[in-house]
Subunit: 496 residues, 2 copies
């Protein structure tokens, strides 16, 4: 048996909604290679299920595609999109992975709300009761698949299961556990009260360790599947939103991150477990130590922009260029692109998008700019909610695909009245996983140290003072549009 | 000198906003040929001026292009878009033609309102005080061009001036006179009270004769310019909106017409001078006899549809086909296409368009159908206002370019809950001018007789009963959207 020799590279595994990436980083955060593989997800009515075997094969194949020198791998870091599955005593899946899009547990979420109360649950779990969380889903399995449920040894996140597949250890990180609805986010431990209240077996819930802790060493079987040496350290890791924040530099209290993707995520790292009195914000345990993140996922933001480009029959680049030539304020056009309801901070699934101020002088560039401004106004509402809840934000990092567009960033900076700091690597979840793994094996002393070494800043987008005042007025019109649209939601099916 | 011999054809001259058409009809209303020529219109800030000489040349050239057999012309009928000019004692223009788009007299309209009061003027003139009307413009000329004003012998509409150019007689019809703001529409005579109140000289206002009356005979000079025989009867005619209504069959009380063009016009013929207590409707003297028309011009309707096609980068035909495949109600999308403010019945120039209910499942076909449904809801508001004011509408005729689309008509019929009757000739103003001329020379005994002989029905679009109820609900959502948008009008320039 080979003895593990310390290496200089970090392998990051980042499993998204339907494909997984493997990226090799050096200790300075420089990406040296990346490979990507799809896996199978089945959608059927409210179900959205990923196949664990297919996910594992995709991970193994993506790492094999990279062909890293096995002797140079110092650590393996893992992150994944939110998703849960049940495993048996040997770690074999008893269920598919219910992804974050899976809504099967709608009735069970309502049952928890009427049994426990939304406020009581929020005060422990730091979030609203939602079918996408582990708690309601466990009730679903108990009711609908009692055979599976009775055999279940553990409930794991997709990331936890991948880590177990790599090193044989089933452990969970505090940020991932926060998505269960059964985690006491202030204390950083499973909530035995909530678990008892829902009559769930305590044994289902895995040990919680910091994201930077060692989970175990790569097993011979996994090493062979991935084309690596066994014995490589596998670190606990965390969920992709939070880990992406870390990859953007959200490594200490006062730093916030805006992940600009198909949906936006906004998280701010804070040093106390601040619950939002209006329950508009999600409170997560931070992946490491005595810290928390506050914020939450937004509704389709980049998705709305892509939809608009499709309807207008033009590509994003051309439309962005047209929008750049339109003055701030889109000459009176206001566009609320909440086309699939809202999440943070309004949490209204029945909301739909709307436009006001439409005039003949408006062209598609105006529509596109107004959509970007509307999304920026939504983002500003989240930062307002953070301020209202007493969170201090000293610095905002922007990552994700949207951070590649200077115009999008300029509009946000002016709407927020604050600078946006843009790292070189805007696909930040892989880098975040690598940072966590680098800390786990001692390459860097802390996430703060890892950020200083690995997160290089590409750009700093300052708010244009001439635009800031106009956008403050636009935000009032935007808020009025959102209020007005509430009374105009389409009738629910059956009504019309 | 040739003696005039009765012919069998009617020549209709129809002068629009920037081009004029000449059409030859037989006594059965069959168009036998048409020619069109542009004329010069100059736009500068609030001014929109057509050149009378250019208009006259366009008319003469269009008739020459037709090459009609001079011996077969039984009558000449004229209609034109609303516009006014001042002439000297010999009939020569002292001013350009101020077209209906000309807004120079905004201050003078306000002065009339504060001097006479909107309600008092409405109770005589049957309309709101607006810069596009002759009264305010006469004040403008008196203030700004006193030399021109002092030399003025008559104030004529563009149509009156064309008739004078053809036969040497300056006369006016009761419908055209209604657009002056100085006409007592109930009595069918100039309002000496209003004229005195504004200290305007009574001599400026020409003799009023029914539209079907003989104005005079074609002069040798005009005959030579047009390539016709002199002595052909020239009939008084009327303004193009009302004359288009007649061309659609609005020839007796109870018949309404919807002219579907760049803007829509809705007029209903009534047998008493009914003033709308809310002043939302325009009351015109009917061109002939003891009758009136009630209704008014709407804002840009077809213009909004054309704008949307431009923004979506697709043609009207393709978009109409896509919209036809979308269910009634556009799957929750509501679109108020009032992109340049509204006229009848809301009269709010600062209104702008808006959209509510926008969702990811919507494509451009939804947007297009929602625009058609929004316009239909606007049209229904005008018919509501007619009903509120006590007008009886037994039958609705649809003419104009929009009446060529079956889908557009089906949407309107379902929104109104009434059948739409579509004549063969949807470019109805030329046919209306020919009908008036045919009555004038005795080819048909009355407009009713002319309609029976000359207006052939192509289609009758019944409301789909399955759609009618859904559209009644849609109208409530549409009205709520319009209310909501009022608070969201763009800031006026200077505010932002």
């Amino acid at each position: 048996m080979d003895r593990f020799m310390p290496g200089d590279l970090i392998l990051a595994i980042d499993a998204g909604t339907s494909s997984t990436r493997a990226t090799l980083f050096d200790a300075a955060g420089q990406p040296l290679g990346q490979a990507s593989r799809p896996f199978t997800v089945a959608y059927q009515s409210a179900f959205a299920e990923a196949d664990p075997a297919s996910l594992w094969t995709a991970v193994a194949d993506a790492v094999r595609d990279l062909q890293p020198d096995p002797s140079r791998i110092a650590a393996i870091g893992v992150t994944a999109a939110i998703g849960m599955l049940l495993t048996d005593a040997s770690g074999e899946p008893l269920s598919p992975i219910c992804t974050w899009q899976d809504r099967r547990a709608t009735e069970q979420a309502a049952a928890i709300e009427s049994r426990c109360g939304a406020a009581a649950v929020y005060s422990v779990a730091g979030r609203r009761i939602d079918p996408e969380l582990t708690g309601p889903r466990l009730l679903w399995f108990r009711e609908r698949q009692p055979d599976v449920f009775s055999k279940a040894h553990l409930v794991l996140t997709a990331k936890d299961w991948l880590v177990q597949r790599l090193c044989g250890q089933a452990v969970c990180d505090p940020a991932g556990a926060s998505y269960s609805l059964l985690f006491d986010v202030a204390r950083g431990a499973w909530s035995h009260d909530l678990i008892a209240e829902l009559r769930l077996p305590r044994h289902l819930f895995p040990e919680v360790r910091d994201a930077t802790a060692l989970a175990g060493l790569l097993t011979p079987g996994a090493a062979s599947a991935l084309g690596l040496r066994h014995g490589a350290p596998v670190v606990v890791g965390g969920p992709d939103g939070t880990v992406g924040g870390i990859g953007g530099g959200m490594v200490e209290p006062g730093i916030a991150v805006n992940v600009m993707g198909t949906t936006d995520v906004i998280l701010a790292c804070v040093d106390r477990p601040s619950f939002d009195p209006l329950r508009r914000l999600v409170l997560n345990r931070f992946p490491v130590g005595e810290a928390w993140s506050v914020g939450g996922p937004m509704a389709a933001t980049g998705g709305a922009v892509a939809w608009l480009a499709g309807v207008l029959g033009a590509d994003l680049r051309a439309l962005t260029a047209e929008a750049a030539s339109i003055p701030a304020g889109s000459e009176g056009l206001v566009f609320a692109p909440v086309m699939a309801g809202s999440r943070t901070p309004r949490w209204n699934v029945s909301e739909r998008g709307g436009i006001a101020g439409l005039a003949f002088e408006h062209g598609r560039g105006h529509l596109f700019r107004a959509a970007l401004e509307g999304i920026a106004a939504e983002v500003a509402e989240v930062f307002d909610a953070l301020a209202f809840a007493g969170m201090t934000v000293n610095e905002i990092r922007a990552v994700g695909g949207g951070a590649e567009s200077r115009l999008w960033l300029e509009i946000r900076a002016a709407m927020l009245g604050k600078a946006l700091i843009v790292p070189e690597v805007v696909e930040a979840s892989a880098l975040g996983a690598a940072m966590i793994a680098a800390v786990g094996v001692g390459i860097h002393p802390s996430l703060r140290g890892a950020s200083a070494a690995m997160v290089r800043i590409r750009d700093r987008v300052e708010p244009d003072p001439e635009v800031v005042a106009g956008y403050a007025r636009l935000r009032r019109r935007y808020a009025a549009l959102r209020e007005g649209l509430e009374g105009l939601n389409p009738p629910q099916s059956g009504e019309e």
